[in-house]
Symmetry: C3
Subunit: 211 residues, 3 copies
């Protein structure tokens, strides 16, 4: 319980730092950068809680999420004024944050009575929706949906493994750890060796089904 909350706070810090860095080239002011960091770190859990009607939502119930987010933003902004951003460390933190958010979100959906595909989707939303909102606020196609990231793919794979292991009788704790390891490993593989899904093979022309 205590350990879990601590690790969640670490995930929030990692996502906030990555939000600050990705806002660097957008021409926002200081407060705009902080807003992006908040959305990146807390957006996924917020959408999950709204969809599950789980109130008060995470950061309203535990405002320490907000303070950790704010602290990580300030530290990141101070850090980049004196030295290079620690990319390797951030990538690792982001991968661990994703692993924890996805499995944690899946577990919260199970507590709320969800199973199977819905529980899996809640885990994926918890881990990936913050990054989607961050990029939408930057008027960009979400990075997590683009080739070569295996971001949502890793989330789906880890949440599915966790749910499958539980379904065949494995206790929650080792199943959680297995799911998290798969997520982190897939992300590391995507970053090191440029592993990617096959292209969707859609025609690139100006399709417009609305017309």
């Amino acid at each position: 319980m205590e350990l879990r909350h601590s690790i969640e706070l670490l995930g929030v810090a990692a996502f906030a730092a990555s939000g600050v860095l990705s806002a660097g080239r957008k021409g926002m002011d200081l407060i705009g950068v902080a807003a992006i960091a908040f959305v990146a770190a807390l957006g996924g859990g917020t959408i999950r809680d709204l969809l599950l009607d789980r109130h008060p939502i995470g950061w309203i119930a535990s405002p320490d999420f907000l303070w950790v987010c704010l602290s990580a933003t300030v530290v990141t902004l101070a850090w980049v004024r004196v030295r290079q951003p620690p990319h390797r460390a951030l990538q690792t933190a982001d991968a661990l944050g994703l692993a924890l958010f996805v499995i944690g979100g899946t577990g919260i959906a199970e507590q709320a009575g969800q199973r199977g595909l819905v529980a899996m989707l809640m885990g994926v939303i918890t881990g990936a929706a913050g990054g989607v909102l961050r990029d939408v606020l930057s008027a960009e196609i979400p990075m997590v949906l683009r080739p070569g990231r295996l971001y949502v793919t890793a989330a789906i794979a880890g949440a599915s493994l966790y749910l499958a292991l539980e379904a065949i009788g494995m206790p929650r704790r080792p199943a959680s750890v297995a799911g998290m390891i798969v997520i982190a490993l897939l992300r590391f593989a995507a970053m090191r060796w440029d592993v990617r899904l096959p292209p969707p093979g859609l025609p690139a022309g100006d399709l417009d089904p609305d017309m």
Copy 2:
């Protein structure tokens, strides 16, 4: 009841297929395309349910929505690898999906005790918000808000007619059918003859009321 649920599932399939096709030129990976399809097919109903505080929201209460969405995505992706996308069929399906989503969403708002403008807006949101979210995730101005689509216009006209006919005493079923026919006909007219609203007549300069 059964018929209605079946038609709703057909609407979900049509919107998912149209989401897949519109994601074709965005440079997303396979999972990114699937995410766009989910958002296009289920986003409108999700926003309506959140606004009306209607829980569990549609696809959590009935996960068959998710399976239909997934199946339509896979079939569309497989289809476009072997032959041209069936544009005429998709346009028809999209128009029917819109007709059903708008009138269905208006009816759900009435069940939740809403009347008049609020009920009409809920219908429009059910039918059009999925397409808006789809385009926002692609960093584009939503197609449904652009000239020559009559998309939101058709939704407003159909929902208003349905509510007006009910208000003057027509039973729900024929009023629903009349509303749906108007929506589908307006969409077909927009596609065939390029019917469009007058331009808003706003100055095109760099207005910036924030400054």
Copy 3:
């Protein structure tokens, strides 16, 4: 109570008019412009109510918000056909609308039992999220997050002052007025003298913490 509701309606009208004008250069149709106006005027309060689980949300409980929004949209569209948009008047209305929305939203969060950082954030969201959604629908980086606006900054400063004055014992009404004055003055200062925050000092290169 009555006065407050009247001022809120004025804020809605100002934000709707500013939404119409900012949609001018986007190539949307008439209904698209109206949709942007609704989102700009009602989006912030809607997100606040969803986050606080406050139902029915504002414009469902009081549909006069919708009618005011619609009227302001029609009047603005008619106005710009015969004469220049009244920029000075609109800027003033937008600044007053922001002042009222932020302090009003903070007060609503307090009524819902929130304090400190959460209450402040709810005020900021009430005032600024509508403008964020408006720009997201136009596929642009939100103006309120860009340098030289002091938009979110003014909201934070006013809400914080209001909460601080209350915390040291000042009654709600004068504390509200002080918070609103600070917001309006900061916005006027940003518009007249181009006051701005220091740049975030982030490296402008192609940082990509997702990779």
